[in-house]
C-alpha cells in the first residue's frame, strides 16, 4: 500500500476551513517565520478516508479476530463506552482552577471522584489518584510515592525487589524513581522463591513489586507471608494491577497486605487499547501514603456539598501529568463499572478464569505445560515439544495468523523457554475457544508432520515475515520529503 505522502498532489485539500471574519494582521518578523510550510500530504477528503479505511483493514483487532494476547487482557470493549466519552469533549481542563470554575464541572469531577471510590473498593485501598496515564506511569507514580513515604520517615532506602517473572515496566519504573533493582528467581513451583526472597530482604529495601496472579497466571498462596516479611523491614508492597481481572470481587490487594496498587483501566475495566494506547493507570494507596498523592486532587467540601480541586499539599510528590489523567478513558471505565456492577465484575473474574482453565485442559496434551496447577486468567505453555521438530513459538504464532487468530503473547515471561502465554478473557464464547483449540492442535500436528511448512507463514497477510535486522540497521523511521 502506498504511503499517504506518496498519494499527495499539490493543491489538494481534505477539509475547508471557515473564512476569516477579522482583518489580516501584520506579518510576523522574518526571523520568527517558517521558511517553508511543512510537507504534509495533500489529498481530497475521499482519498484520505479511503487511505485510512484501507489501513484499518490491515489490522487484526478484538472486533475482528480472537485476540488472546497474554498479560494484555484483550476483552471486548462495549460500544456504549464509545458513545459515553465524547459527552465530555468540550470541557477545558483548566476550568476547575479558575475562580468559581469547579462549579462548572461538577459532573466531571463527580465522575472522577466516584470512579476513585469504586476503584478503592475493588482494590481495598483508601484513596485513588486518577492522574497516571498508563500502567507504567502508575508504577512510576507509585514508586515516587514509596520514595516520598520513606523520605518523610527518615528511612534510608535504596532497593526495590521484583520477581524475575515481573513485567519489564516494574524495574524500569522503580529505576525512574531512583531505586536499584534486586531480582528474585522463580522457584520450580512457579512462584517467587520464598527462601531467596527472605534472604534478599533487609532494611534498605523500599518496596516489593508483585503481580498477583503473576505472569505465569498463578496466584501466589504465600502472598500474605511475603507482605508480612516486607512490612517487617518497613518495605511497602506494590501491586501491579495488570492481572487484576482474575480476582475481581474474589480478593482485594489491600486485604492481603498490599500498600499501593495501580490498575490498568484498558485491561481490567474494558476500555479499548487503541493500537497501543491511550490507557490509564490510576493508583490506589493506603492511608499512610495519602499525604504524598500527586496534585491536583478532588476533595469533597463538606460546607458547600460540592467537589473542589486541591492544587497543593505540603508533602505531595508533585504532579506526574497535567490534570486528572486520561479523562476520556476514565469516562469509559466508569461506564463499564456502573454497567457491570458488583455481580457483573465477579462474573468477569469467574469466566475469565474458567476460559483460561478450559484452554489449559484442552491443550495440555499437545503443548508442554511448565506449571500444571490451576491457573487464573491466563495460562503459559511452552513450545518445547514443537522445538524438538525445529518449530518455534514464533512459528506457531505465524500459523495462527494464517488461521485468522491473533497470536498469544510469545517469549514472555522470559523465564519460560519458548513461552506461549494465552489470555482468552471472559468475553469469548465457548465456540470461539473451541475453534482456537482446534487450530492450536492443528499447529502441533503440523509441527510433528511437516515442520518445514512453517517457514513461509504467514501467507494470507499483506506482508510475510519482516526483516527486523534491516529495520534496526537502517533506522528509516520517517519518510523525508
Amino acid at each position: 500500500m502506498q504511503l499517504i505522502y506518496e498519494q499527495s498532489v499539490s493543491g489538494r485539500r481534505g477539509v475547508t476551513l471557515p473564512a476569516s471574519d477579522v482583518p489580516a494582521a501584520p506579518a510576523l518578523p522574518a526571523n520568527l517565520q517558517r521558511s517553508e510550510p511543512a510537507a504534509l500530504p495533500e489529498l481530497s477528503e475521499l482519498d484520505l478516508v479511503r487511505h485510512f479505511t484501507n489501513l484499518s483493514r490491515r489490522n487484526f483487532s478484538v472486533d475482528t479476530h480472537f485476540y488472546p494476547l497474554g498479560s494484555c487482557t484483550m476483552k471486548y470493549n462495549a460500544k456504549v463506552l464509545e458513545n459515553a466519552a465524547p459527552l465530555f469533549s468540550p470541557l477545558h481542563p483548566l476550568t476547575p482552577l479558575l475562580p468559581g470554575g469547579s462549579d462548572l464541572c461538577q459532573g466531571a469531577l463527580g465522575m472522577l471522584y466516584d470512579l476513585g471510590q469504586m476503584l478503592a473498593d475493588i482494590t481495598g485501598m483508601d484513596e485513588v489518584t486518577t492522574q497516571p496515564l498508563a500502567g507504567a506511569h502508575g508504577e512510576m507514580t507509585g514508586m515516587l510515592l514509596v520514595a516520598a513515604y520513606h523520605k518523610a520517615k527518615g528511612n534510608k532506602k535504596k532497593y526495590v525487589v521484583v520477581p524475575d517473572s515481573s513485567h519489564g515496566t516494574n524495574p524500569a519504573s522503580a529505576a525512574m524513581a531512583g531505586f536499584e533493582i534486586v531480582t528474585i528467581p522463580t522457584a520450580p513451583y512457579g512462584d517467587m522463591d520464598l527462601e531467596l526472597f527472605r534472604q534478599a530482604m533487609n532494611g534498605e529495601v523500599a518496596a516489593v513489586m508483585m503481580t498477583c496472579p503473576n505472569t505465569l497466571g498463578l496466584f501466589n498462596p504465600h502472598i500474605k507471608e511475603i507482605a508480612d516479611i516486607a512490612h517487617a523491614h518497613d518495605a511497602l508492597m506494590y501491586y501491579d494491577g495488570a492481572n487484576l481481572n482474575a480476582i475481581l470481587g474474589k480478593v482485594r490487594p489491600g486485604d492481603v497486605g498490599f500498600d499501593l496498587v495501580h490498575v490498568n483501566l484498558h485491561k481490567t475495566f474494558g476500555t479499548p487499547h487503541g493500537g497501543g494506547g491511550p490507557g490509564a493507570g490510576p493508583v490506589g494507596v493506603k492511608q499512610a501514603l495519602v499525604p504524598f498523592l500527586p496534585m491536583p486532587r478532588i476533595v469533597h467540601d463538606e460546607s458547600s456539598g460540592l467537589l473542589q480541586v486541591q492544587t497543593d499539599s505540603p508533602r505531595t510528590i508533585g504532579r506526574t501529568a497535567n490534570f486528572f489523567g486520561n479523562f476520556g478513558v476514565m469516562a469509559k471505565a466508569y461506564a463499564y463499572l456502573i454497567m457491570l456492577g458488583r455481580e457483573g465484575l465477579v462474573q468477569v473474574a469467574e469466566q475469565a478464569v474458567l476460559n483460561a482453565n478450559y484452554l489449559k485442559e484442552q491443550l495440555k496434551g499437545w503443548y508442554e505445560l511448565p506449571y500444571e496447577q490451576t491457573c487464573m486468567h491466563e495460562v503459559v505453555f511452552s513450545a518445547a515439544k514443537q522445538l524438538a521438530h525445529g518449530v518455534h513459538a514464533i512459528d506457531i504464532a505465524k500459523f495462527l495468523i494464517d488461521k485468522g487468530c491473533h497470536p498469544p503473547t510469545v517469549y514472555f515471561p522470559l523465564i519460560v523457554k519458548e513461552a506461549i502465554m494465552i489470555e482468552p478473557t471472559e468475553t469469548e464464547s465457548k465456540a470461539t475457544l473451541d475453534s482456537f483449540i482446534a487450530v492450536m492442535i492443528e499447529a502441533a500436528e503440523l509441527a510433528a508432520s511437516d515442520p518445514s511448512a512453517f517457514g513461509a507463514m504467514p501467507v494470507t497477510m499483506p506482508v510475510t515475515r519482516l526483516d527486523e535486522t534491516k529495520a534496526a540497521r537502517e533506522q528509516t523511521v520517517c519518510c523525508l520529503g
Binding site: L32, D121, G168, P221, G249, K250, P278, L337, V463, T476
Partner: protein, 447 residues
Amino acid sequence: MTSHYCPHTPQEMREMLDVIGVADIEALFAPIPPELRCKTFNLPSGMSEFETFARMQQLAADNCSQLALFIGGGFYDHLIPAAVDHLAGRSEFYTAYTPYQPECSQGTLQALFEYQTAICRLTGLEVSNASLYDGATALAEGALMAVRATGRSTVLVDGCISPIARQVLATYLSNQEVTIVELPPLDGLLHRDELAARLDHDTAALLVQYPNVFGCVEDFSPVADQVHAVGGLLVTSVYPVALGMLRSPAEVGADIAVGDGQSLGNPLSFGGPSFGFIAARKTYIRNMPGRIVGQTVDKNGRRGFVLTLQAREQHIKRHKATSNICSNQSLCALRGLIFLAALGRGGLVELARLNYDKAAYAKSSLARLPGVTVLQSAPTFNEFTIHLPRPADQVVAGLMAKGIVAGLPLGQFYEGAEQLLVVTVTEKRSRKEIDLLVKELEVLLCN
C-alpha cells in the same frame, strides 16, 4: 447467568467445568487461601447499557459546556474535521493493541510510520517516536534524553515554560541525579543574562517553549548557538498548530523537540487523552524513549513496517531502559495524523494564520480598553498577556457569569502576577464572540 457481556450459557459452563474436571467455578479459585478472600465488595448492582448511557448523560449535563473559551494554557479549542472521529473510530484501529505481530498489524504500523513522518516534517527534525503520554511528560522525557545523550546532569529550564509542565518535569526528575535550574522570566521572555551566567560544561540542556506561557514568541537561534557552544542540547517545547507559521525547531537549532498533540484533532476532554510527541536529530535515536516504528521489507521484498530498536525499551532492557513507558497514546497520535493529513500543507498554514489574525484582532481591541495594557515584549501567535486594572481572578469570575471564560489568570503561577491574564483566541472564536468579550470586559471594568 448469561449476559450480553459474558456469553456462556449454564449448559456450556457445565461442559467446560466437566472438561476441567471440577464441580463448580469456585473450585478454580481454590489456589487462593480462604482467609485472603474478599469480605467486602460494595459496588452497586449493574444496569443496562441504556441506563448506563442515561447516567453518563446526566453527569455530562452537570457541566457547563456552552462557554466561549478564551482560555488555552496548553489546551486548545480547535476545529476537528469529521473524518478524524470516523476514521480513528474504526474499531480495527481502536480495539487492536501494540503491533507486536507486525504481519497482522500493518494498519497500525504504517499509520504510526506516517505519524512519525508528519512529526518530523513539522519539526524539521529527522527522527520521531510513535508518541508519548502528553506534552508535559514529553518535556520530562526530552530532558532525560538530553541527560543520557550528553552524560551531564544539569538541566536549565526557562521559567516561561508552562508552569504545569514544569511541575511535571520537577516530579519526574525528583529522584534522578539531575539538577534543575529555573531561569526566572524577564518581561515574559527568557532571561538571557541569567542564561549566560548559568550555562557551563555541566549543562545537559536548555529547555524552552514557544510560544511561551505568556504567548510570546522569541528568536531562540542565538540561544541555540550559546547552548551548543558549551556542548549542551536545546530542547524546545512547541505548539504544533503554531508551526504552521513559526520557524520549526530544526530551523531554530533545536536538538530535541517535544509538545502536546491535543491541538491536532483531539478534543479538550477535560485534559485527556491527548498525546505527547518527541522528535530529535538522528544522532540521538538510541537515546529516545518509547516505541519507534521502522521501515523494512518482508522475505519477498515487499515494504513493511515493524517496531524497531526495541533494545532501548523496558520489555527487553528492564531497569536499564531509556524510559519505563510501555502503553503510549497511539490512537490519539493517529487522530493527529489524520488531522494533519486532512489539512495538508496549505491547510495548516491557513489554520495558523486564522489563529494569528483573530488573536491580533482581539489583542488590539482589548488594548483600547481603559486601564488594560498588553504585554508588548515580543510578537505573539494566538495567545497574549494583558495587564488588568484589577485582579484577573475577579475579572474571570465576573465574565464567567456571562458565559465567557476570559483567559488564564497567572497569579496562581507567578508571584506578583495577580493582574495578568493570558487570553487565547483560536479559529473557533468568531468576531462576534471576540467583540462580546471586549464589550463585557469594558462593562465590568467600568463598574
